[in-house]
Symmetry: C2
Subunit: 300 residues, 2 copies
Amino acid sequence: MQFDCVGFGLCASDYLCLLPEYPALDQKTELIAFAKNGGGPVPTAMVTLARLGARSAFIGKVGDDAEGRYIIDELQKEGVDTGGVRIDPESATPQAFIWIDNPSGKKTIALNRTGISAFKATELNERLICSGRILHLDGREVEPSLLAAECARKAGRTVVMDVGSLRPRIESLLSMVDYPVVSENFVLQYFGRIDHAQAAEKLLQFGCSAAVVTCGNRGCFGATKSGIIFQPAFDVNVVDTTGAGDVFHGAFIYGLLQKWELASTLRFASAVAALKCTQLGGRTGIPNLEGVESFLNTHN
Amino acid sequence: MQFDCVGFGLCASDYLCLLPEYPALDQKTELIAFAKNGGGPVPTAMVTLARLGARSAFIGKVGDDAEGRYIIDELQKEGVDTGGVRIDPESATPQAFIWIDNPSGKKTIALNRTGISAFKATELNERLICSGRILHLDGREVEPSLLAAECARKAGRTVVMDVGSLRPRIESLLSMVDYPVVSENFVLQYFGRIDHAQAAEKLLQFGCSAAVVTCGNRGCFGATKSGIIFQPAFDVNVVDTTGAGDVFHGAFIYGLLQKWELASTLRFASAVAALKCTQLGGRTGIPNLEGVESFLNTHN
């Protein structure tokens, strides 16, 4: 197999502003620090896999502009294959403006989605979609995501999906996914105010192998037919939570690739996500394998 | 005289995000519209003068980077002279991230000041400082601003200063300025909760010819020894108030250059600032002379 994981989803360039305090409307404030990073849930998961030593590829769309070239360059520097990145000459590359509150590390994201066109069915390269052991999706473009999942499943690939919020035809998507990793925000939107452990269990009804609910700095719940696991978040000095979920997904996929038990995978993914949060930017703090192992050896 | 006005101050590139509503912390939102503009109080005032047909020049510092080149290009496209822009090889160009609430047009600015170095006394070119009939300052770099004002006054030039907030040695600065144009924020910081008309009058004590207090969408007060004038703001469809003050200062200087009465100058400057607010960006909506005149002819 050419890749360990192929990811398909939205990409953007991130403008990260660390602020002394999240400001109210009609204020002026000065940044503590600034960073520009390539961003987007799936590309950041692919970068995580590359840092950990796995072979990853990204399929997505950028505009024919400096931001698009920046995104591709950043992925290539990380060793993520970008052969599947299409350039849309008609529109600009999406940008995410992120204001991070210090010291909580909580952030608000203003996304400039631009008019970038959705992937057409004819633009999806089946061979490329199936060229990894795992396919990772963000499900933001419903039709091409369904097509990609269907094609990967037919070819015997494992499908992972990051579900950050409620999307159209979510049931169809979930029924094509082996490992949904959903946010607490999605749980609230889909199930209402239910227990997160219960939500993880309910997701199994879609036929997946395991389901995970991530709950930010509280930790995550994983459900399989054998039961529920809770993994608390590691206590680190948080600077910026941007991309913490995306990095968790990448590290979770790394655990799947190693065929680890769910408990070990969740512990590993939590550690990688925690380390990411100690630096400004969605990608700056992503550790390599040695970095995670050394962290895990000193944290029980 | 080579120029009608020379301006010295901070410059930045503006990233303008028009949002459906100013978001709380820990939210995700999508932009209604995005614009990138050259920014900074003095450069935007110089662009205003250029659009109105006056000859203006900007003195300031940028980093040796793409943002710095962008700022210089934007000024040159407008016809603003950039011979006095120095490039600091040691640091990055400042950036302003601006989130605008729709439909109020109110905004919050997060400034990435970077470590860009202050102008040294030896870097100020006296000949250039005195090469305009008027010198416009933002007073943000106290020492070089004082030096520039002193040198301009000695050469018989008129000095205008935009005072957005309280600065060190403000009294020394104010005593060198012919026309201080101060914000209501400065009034609050310096005088406390006093009447804005009274604040304008008190500023005359520093020896200036006239003093102006701007009060956002309520209007402005101008004081001379002959008395106080109030100019209400024009009622327009506000999209974005970014740079409204800066544009007001540029148009105010235009009135000084024409030797108009204070009342006419304030009415003109209010109209130019109001027109600016009808479009996204600190500079996009700045009208030319014909545009202001046609607006004034239809608004009493």
